[in-house]
Symmetry: C2
Subunit: 533 residues, 2 copies
């Protein structure tokens, strides 16, 4: 068998059976091998940022990496922004980047570039097999490295998806077409580490003690088991529990203990953490502002609050640590669950705006929905309250703030979980970065409803200009925030990509169209036109 | 004035007066400064690859760099593929990348990444001003570095646009909002160097000698003056003259001495160079294959042909060198011009296909059109013959083979030359990488006609699979080449972006729609549906 087939079969041996691809000449042998191995699902993406975002969404839901198949340095570069988000989400991803044959590298041919340098900015592991004999072992090592933070393939999906890393395998064209060694067998990644009993005792003393304590939980701790443990701790000791603004994956809804997301703005976080003496990090990082602003602190923990690193951000079993802490301080306590939701209040018919669109979605959200949240300004303060009492669901957030994640992540999540409806809440400006992901949703007949939150501007930038001490925006600045002149017609674009689309201007229209879309298989797009507030 | 305004005013002082922008929070001060300096034209792009491609197109036509304004590492990454093409075109570009404040860099906040590492893969010059006092001088140095290969601002545009480099200035947010030093004055870039008299004598002896000689010309040598000199040499000595397949900028049409582009395929180049004893490189690189193929050579010069480096690829005055060579070997020879074009033959009405679409465009191409060529397989063998006798025009090629250049480069060229019609010949698959450039064309009311050459596949990959020795494509491989299921409707997408669009299935329809579009200001898109051949 040739080297590309060795790579493909080694991926399969190591549990990687989906490949989000935008191939070129150097990846042709891998493409040809797909026909000999139907166990590998090849998914065509029309832009590399769709492929990398889809791989992220897939792994957030399965806990197992997908492969991407990308074409040399420019192909990798096109996919880099969503790999940045995946890195911040601790998602396992295995990039397979085709490159020139070894004999061709020295010729500086047109597509030649420094793949390793670009890959290293997002990858924990980068390797270029140098001989045919390396193709199998290096591929197995790539998957193990992506899983190195120890994400078990957990059938109940209660703790998957957010503790891996990005591996990049650079596959030379000649090694792909030459005869190669047999595929490498499964290589077991090291399991996640456990915190020590002493760590648990230290944390227990804090949460059981007299001073105000808050937990900041991330990663697998935001699945159902972690949230149950946090709720027990909270009930027994009065400890507060927070999560990041936009975590990689958060379980929410009726029957799930609620956790409070930290606000996006520093001022909101200051209010939330006011009076907290001890902030205990549980698979989370200390909260910092997304950007610096003149005269404001970058670290959001209030001055004087002690920060304790209980469970590191990656590589540790957050769920077991939280459970052990709960068993220590609250051995006999059961989590208090919010009361079962009443029937959702009827939607009052009014023009759509920031304050009401999320209530429509929250009221209609189906059980086990996967909510991909790139709503940014439109959802920053409205989505969490509006969906707190929705049917149980998972929310996938914009971890690295590189916009253009929503549509691709939704595609990947839908491929991972074909039985679950995916609802992608997508800001208008951000949608355009990876808009061709709609076509992949159509090609693969995915059950994704994309709701474009069309406020016809980069709304966040208007606020940011003021916050960095800029003057009032004049016409030239406003022209760079304004997505009008001409207005973008997302229903036309979606139709052109093969996704049926409708436009909603009122709450009733949104509710009707959302209900219809849920009842109809395949992808749909609803363009929600939001009135200025 | 604050640091962002110092940067902006220094750019203006150094002749940079267009800025293709996709800004974020860290660039807000620069955006605000645009209102105080209307001499800088800010052009909003909805994806960074549009901004970088537009900067490339702008500079290919003006010989002067534009600025890009991009948001941190992910924003730069999204623009990297078209910077790769610009680097291969030797286009001067000045990237202004906003970054976090110095106090914020250590916090590893969500958008933090290694900007320098990504920038270095395409830039000749990367610098991060470290103090307020550096902002002006570093900006002036960035422009000079972009012009360092010495592109004079040439009013007759006969030798502009293809001898610069990419500079990346990383602008910290705090240095942008803090009080800064006054803007730096104009910093003169070193002029292009000249070849020596001995170099000319050596080349002259070869072209005047008895052995078969060919010139391979690139860069500014492909403007009208360079081509005139090459034609004189050719007439006096019988020397052949070639240019690369897809040069950055090539002058063509009636009244312009013709030059033969090398074929894309190695076999075609072998035929073209068969029997050549001496290949003289004039601002060009030795031709190499785009990709390696099993058992085929990567270097395309026939074995035994001597390669002579007369004028280096960058930093030298190609036009003067060619002219001096012509004055030496052909002092009294005038270039032979092709006969004035007869009236174009009437278009025979038939279904559009690879063999006839270019003839329609060639017959109707208006005087001084700028043709942006990303037609790839559809134009590889058809465009050059079909436009040889067209009205005089410039062709801008896909220099770095990173697809998704066409629509952005067309936007930038149209902004550079508002009086000239721009015709963008755009393959369907490639169009989707940067499709939102259509919106920028609509926003700026640019006279661009985009002709989508819709063959509903990544046609080049079908051929490539065979060439790398892959098996016949089966259904899984075919699924990754096929752009159908669903078919993409480019007229709907264009309409959604604010660009009027029509669809043509026959030569007559294409001719009518092209004629109408030429007569109507603003952007247009024609989706040419090509029948399989």
């Amino acid at each position: 068998m040739n080297g590309a087939e060795t790579v493909l079969r080694t991926l399969l041996n190591n549990g990687v059976d989906a490949c989000f691809a935008n191939p070129g000449t150097s990846e042709m042998q891998f493409v040809a091998a797909l026909d000999r191995h139907p166990a590998m699902r090849g998914v065509l993406c029309l832009f590399e940022g769709v492929a990398t975002g889809a791989a992220d969404g897939y792994a957030r839901m399965t806990g197992r990496p997908a492969a991407t198949l990308l074409h040399l340095g420019p192909g990798l570069a096109n996919g880099l922004a969503n790999l940045h988000n995946a890195r911040r989400a601790h998602t396992p991803v295995v990039n397979v980047i085709g490159d020139h044959a070894r004999s061709h590298k020295g010729l500086d041919s047109p597509l030649e570039s420094d793949i390793e340098a670009v890959a290293a900015t997002v990858s924990s592991w980068v390797r270029r097999p140098m001989t045919s004999a390396d193709m199998g072992p290096d591929t197995a090592a790539a998957v193990a490295a992506a899983m190195s933070a120890g994400v078990p393939d957990d059938p109940d999906r209660s703790r998957t998806g957010t503790s891996g890393a990005i591996s990049t395998l650079i596959m030379g064209a000649d090694l792909s077409w030459e005869e190669s060694a047999p595929p490498a067998p499964h290589l077991t990644a090291p399991p996640p580490r456990s915190v020590t009993r002493a760590d648990v005792e230290t944390a227990a003393a804090l949460v059981a003690g007299p001073e105000p304590v808050a937990l900041l939980i991330d990663g697998a701790g935001l699945g159902e088991r972690g949230l149950q443990a946090a709720a027990r701790i909270q009930k027994a000791t009065g400890t507060a529990a927070f999560c990041p603004t936009w975590p990689a994956r958060l379980r929410r809804g009726t029957g799930v203990p609620a956790i409070q997301p930290l606000g996006y703005r520093a001022e909101a976080v200051s209010r939330q953490l006011a009076g907290v003496e001890h902030l205990i990090l549980v698979g989370a990082r200390e909260p910092v502002a997304s950007f610096a602003y003149p005269g404001r602190p970058g670290i959001l923990t209030p001055p004087g609050t002690h920060v304790h690193h209980f469970v590191p951000e990656a590589g540790f079993d957050v769920v077991d640590a939280l459970t052990e802490l709960a068993d220590t301080v609250a051995p006999d306590t059961l989590a208090v669950l919010p009361p079962t939701q009443d029937a959702a209040p009827p939607v009052v018919n009014e023009p759509l705006r920031t304050e009401n669109w999320a209530q429509v979605i929250g009221a209609l959200l189906p059980r086990e929905a996967i909510v991909v949240d790139e709503s940014i300004t439109e959802g920053m303060n409205t989505l969490a309250p509006a969906t707190a009492d929705s049917a149980p669901h998972d929310v996938l957030g914009l971890t690295g703030l590189a916009i253009g994640q929503g549509i691709p992540v939704a595609a990947g999540a839908a491929i991972a979980c074909p039985e679950r409806p995916v609802v992608c809440l997508q800001a208008d400006g951000s949608a355009l970065y990876t808009i061709s992901g709609l076509w992949t949703q159509a090609r693969e007949k995915l059950n994704v409803i994309t709701v474009i939150l069309n406020n016809r501007s980069y709304a966040i930038l208007r606020a940011e200009l003021d916050r960095v001490g800029g003057s009032q925006a004049g016409p030239a600045a406003n022209a760079l925030f304004d997505l009008g002149r001409p207005d973008i017609d997302f229903t036309a674009i979606a139709t052109g990509m093969g996704v049926p689309a409708t436009r909603a201007a009122s709450t009733t229209e949104l509710a009707e169209q959302f209900t219809t879309a849920l009842a109809t298989p395949g992808p749909h797009l609803i363009e929600a036109i939001l009135q200025p507030t």
